[in-house]
Assembly symmetry: C2
Homo-oligomer: 452 residues x 2
């Protein structure tokens, strides 16, 4: 270990970016050698496409592979395009079968076919078996390279079997126990085997196995693996026969992917599917424009609602002043409810069948919030304008908060029930809905209170 | 394995809830025995506080502990309150030291002191050592029960050492290699040790160790562990001496916790810190009301801005009709940018020093989106009203989108720079800011185009 203080990652980024701009490849090569692999991945995810290929070429074969494995599949796909064929074939062959699947989901079909053709027969067969499972299923994310043991083996025999597979299995610490028909009957840990009497049988050691079906949604299986704190989750077919293992690192990756997707959708855009700084501006625009247009078209509803009340506005202009405040508060209340329920759904704390409970809780929550904000609004507007305006503002806040919380809380559950991503139905959509309905509520209350 | 189809989790929930309502404890006890532990945790997180204590009491000692370990710390804290002292002491003693920390962060100080006093001396010392690290640091989340080896040992000696610690170490698969001063010089895996020549030295096998400082933010360390696909990350002090290990299951838990927090804050509320259905309505109200009030007070700015332009509105009432559409679109554009950048920050794809790059990208993105929406708005408003109104709407959309994207993109970076949670500065805050500034832009453009 060097005794001098190592560079911070920010300093390394700066140095590498400077050397690249100067095209000083010798100095660049030197910095790269001194940079830890994890930092190199961070640096590469910030660079432009051409520069990324230059850096990747300057690395030793072994490090090039390590860095490549750490990159986002979208950037791996770019690199495959920018590197030469023999470099590509080597990188692709060295990837683990499940990492290969992430990448294959990213590249065009023609490239995928060419890449698969270049694989040795055995690897090709393993990869092809995963490709047979539907998109979005855990079958595409599991590893087919695992160790399993029969329950009738002794601990000593089981350990021999594990030792024989140390080189090629992706996971050896969690070992499914199978019966003669390859059905999962339990689980042992490598740690348990090492601690046990060598003459005992595996069946005596085995504990209840948690499993997931190969056709299960990958997010559900990943959540299960993470919630149960398992290092690997056995994946089984319909007959409970073992077909693969989902390892915790892949589970984490799946969850991270889903969370990026949820975050983007709640913000009203499509996920970028690649690191922000390495995404071209036109692609960012594309990820946002559709939702923005949909929401703008939805918002024309508010223009129509206001047109219907144009006479009321001309008569009492002061009503127009409160429009942004009222619909903004409604939107905020709706967003709060939607965000809470969407997250609870993602974590499995709430299920679609809980619609009634959620509705009742959000109605009460919304009414309480509305009562509070309404009293406050009433007081302030009465002081600033007059009693009648105060009453209109107070009642409107009460009504809008109640409606917004109820709608915001139920939308994600309804979305899930019709198999739409709850995050899509979330914040911006609810704001638009609450804007239009809030305006109707506002002007109806205003007309009846002010006798217009 | 039973041959009949096992109940789905929804059916189990229903049955357990029914038995609880009927107070049929005998039948309840029967259902509980048949329910897998993981499902029991889900059921308990949905129940009310009293019912939760009843179920916990009906479980066997061993299962009661397993279920307890799976619960949210907030619910563990409730249970400790509702169970009897001897039950509490046993549950607390059986927890792993790092799980104990999550719980201690949750209970009142007096309860924490009492619980710690009840622990055997050795456990108390371990827990106290973790309590010495600052709140939010990885020191509070690591386990002090690990195995480490000296580089000078042979593989056979190292394996003996691991075998001796199999019972009490929380993690044995990732083994830090230390020098004589307990400094981390590398890492070996249990798998690597098993595969190696027993006469080789550990130092020959060791690879570069990734570590985190014990005072590092727990989220940063957890992200590092997950990004590098490590089963455990060694945690070191200032002098690079080993003090603990962060295991991947704890890393996942930290990240999940942070993501719940980010999601809540982006939706404009404080995190609930407990499962939705087991949170009382008054607590939900409390998690939302402060932000709602802050935002409502912020929104009074829009009332003032509109008051300033009241004469303009009375003169051309039609301008009022577009207010929700224009500020809504601005808010959406701002949210899109803020959400994308907040997530990129959380993933480490963007750093505070990238402010210039983010600003330039978001200005271009916003201008492109504004050009598109503006042309559309111009065309439609011209057809529906007249050329001048069309021009006002078109120009306003262009300006608002550009400003909103730039502000939305930079806010999370500025928040991080002043050490505020970027998610707090996100969606609702930006909407409020964009609402007020958007109105100023709108009426300035209207006045100058319409010559008012």
């Amino acid at each position: 270990m060097a005794t001098e203080t190592p560079l911070t990652i920010d300093e390394r980024i700066e140095e590498i970016e400077r050397r690249l701009n100067d095209e000083d490849l010798l100095a660049l090569s030197q910095v790269l050698t001194d940079t830890p692999t994890a930092d190199l991945v961070v640096v590469l995810e910030r660079l432009g496409r051409k520069q990324r290929a230059i850096v990747e070429r300057l690395l030793s074969k072994e490090r090039a592979l390590e860095v490549f494995e750490g990159l986002d599949p979208s950037l791996q796909s770019d690199l495959l395009h920018d590197l030469q064929d023999h470099e590509v074939a080597r990188l692709f062959e060295e990837l683990d079968p499940d990492d290969r699947m992430w990448l294959l989901d990213e590249v065009p079909a023609a490239v995928a076919t060419r890449l698969l053709r270049g694989l040795p027969a055995e690897d090709r067969a393993l990869t092809a078996s995963l490709l047979g499972y539907p998109q979005g299923s855990v079958g595409r994310r599991m590893t087919p390279e695992y160790v399993s043991v029969r329950g009738s083996l002794t601990v000593a025999q089981a350990l021999d079997r594990v030792r024989a597979r140390l080189d090629d299995a992706e996971t050896v610490y969690t070992i499914p126990v199978l019966d003669d028909a390859r059905r999962v009957t339990g689980i042992v840990s490598l740690r348990g085997l090492l601690a046990a009497d060598p003459a005992a049988t595996v069946a005596e050691l085995a504990v209840e196995a948690h499993t997931a079906r190969v056709t299960d949604d990958d997010e559900d299986a990943a959540r299960r693996c993470a919630d149960l704190s398992l290092l690997a989750l056995p994946i089984v077919d319909r007959e409970n026969r073992l077909v693969g293992m989902l390892t915790i690192d892949d589970a984490v990756r799946i969850l991270e992917h889903e969370e990026s997707e949820d975050a983007a959708r709640q913000g009203g855009s499509e996920p970028l599917r690649r690191p922000y700084l390495s995404t071209p501006v036109t692609r960012i625009v594309r990820s946002r424009v559709v939702w923005l247009l949909v929401l703008a078209v939805g918002a024309t509803l508010t223009v129509q609602v206001l047109s219907a009340f144009e006479a009321t506005i001309s008569e009492v202009t002061v009503l127009a002043l409160f429009v942004p405040l009222l619909i903004g508060t409604g939107g905020n209340t709706g967003n709060q409810a939607a965000t809470t329920v969407t997250r609870a759904l993602a974590l499995g704390d709430v299920r679609p069948r809980d619609l009634g409970r959620v509705l009742s809780r959000e109605l009460r929550t919304g009414a309480l919030l509305g009562l509070l904000l309404g009293s406050l609004g009433f007081t302030i507007a009465t002081l600033a304008y007059d009693f009648h305006i105060g009453l209109v503002i107070g009642l409107t806040l009460l009504a809008i908060c109640t409606v917004a919380a109820a709608v915001g809380g139920c939308m994600p559950l309804l979305a899930r029930a019709v198999h739409v991503d709850p995050a899509v139905f979330s914040n911006p959509f609810i704001s638009t809905f609450v804007d239009a309905s809030g305006l109707v509520i506002y002007f109806m209350i205003a007309r009846s209170v002010l006798g217009l």
